[in-house]
Structures are given as structure tokens and as C-alpha cells.
Amino acid sequence: MSVNLSTRQEGDVSVVDVEGRITLGEGTSALRDTIRQLVGNGQKKILLNLGDVSYIDSSGIGELVSGFTTVTNSGGQLKLLNLTKRVKDLLQITKLYTVFDVAESEASAIRSFT
């Protein structure tokens, strides 16, 4: 299994803990399916915990962007938590770091949803 995603509910925020590799194929499909399912279930506040993401490629970055767009278009908010150095570097290189709302603490991230 290249990636494992598990979702838990913290109040009205859905926290998705992502572990492993977000790369083209299984990784990007699993992330896309999870976000679409949450949006389909009416979840408006989604927090992606990427602290245990060991690797991400351009397709994975693209999937984060698509997920952000999907959630935003449904009237919700998607935020990122616990970026590893690799993910943070890639978001900075691709100039996406300021697009996403990034938090380093789960508690503050949850409080920041409006």
C-alpha cells in the first residue's frame, strides 16, 4: 500500500490523516476519492494532515490543488497541516504555498475554520 488515508471527525472538522506516498496512481486516486466522498457527504471543513507523507510528486501536488478547488467550489474550506520539508519545498517551488492555508498545529488549524 503506497498510501493510507484515515478520516476522523473533530467537531465539525473532518481531519484526514495521510500516510505514505502521494504519487500518480494509487496515491492520487485515494486522495481524490476521499475528498470527493467528504464533499459528497456535505463536509465543509476539511483538514489534510500531511505529517506522515513520505513522498509527493507533481501529480500529488496537482491532486492537492484539485482537491482545494473541489472543496472551495462546494462552499467549503480545505486546509493543510504538518507539512514535511519536502512537501513544503515543492509547494514553494510551484508557488502554491501561499495558496493553501497551512497550519502547524491541529488545534489552531481546527480553530481557524470559519
Binding site: L24, D57, V65, T69
Partner: protein
Amino acid sequence: MERDLDSTLDSVDRAEGLALDVAERAGFGEEDLMKIGMAVRESVVNAVVHGNRYNRNKKVQFRVERSGGRLTVRIADEGEGFDFGNLPDPVAPENLMRGSGRGIFLIRSFMDEVQLRHLDPGGIEIILVKYAT
């Protein structure tokens, strides 16, 4: 080292592993290994997905060699090619929220030299060069 790889996503891992084996022996550090690995992965994904389009009858040619502190990786597909001279800039504001189109940009960001050319009768060749520092 030279291999003909199948047009499958398994070839992405294989190519990365082959390139990193050579790069490690050439003395590249951890940060450079990450960059080389990602550039190779993105290049092979392009060859498999956009070039050969997973066609089992088409191969991805892969070659990696080192000479002194220079690592050279060549990846070639048998696809129909694309206009690599006219790719949208993925960091331009109007393209920032696109779900794809960052592969070549990242390859160029991570390698010291990148050359793309059309092959006859078809396909794209990409040559990646990294110098040990």
C-alpha cells in the same frame, strides 16, 4: 546502464531505483538524490503516460551513466510527441490552480541541464544532467 522499460507505472519506481543506485555510487548527497529521483520519476511518468500512453507494445528507453562528477540520464518514449517549446508556465497566476502541468517545470528546477528533442520517426527524448557539488 541501459534498459528498455515497459510502459507501466512500475517502470517509474524501477527507473528511479536504477538512477539512484548510480547516483549514490557517484557520491551525490541526500538532497541531490531526492532531486535526481524526482526528475527521473517525472520524466518516466511523462514517457509512460503522455508519450507511450501505457501502450504495451511501446517501450521506454532508459539509460544512466556517470562520468566523473557528472550524472547523465536519458529517457525516450515512442509516442506522438508534444510541443515542449510551448508549455504553459505552471507558476503564472492564470495557471497556478491547474491540476496538472508541473512535471517539466520540476524537472528543470531540480536538474542542472535538461534537453528535450523530438525523435524520428516518433517520440520524445529527454536528457537530464546533474553535477556533483
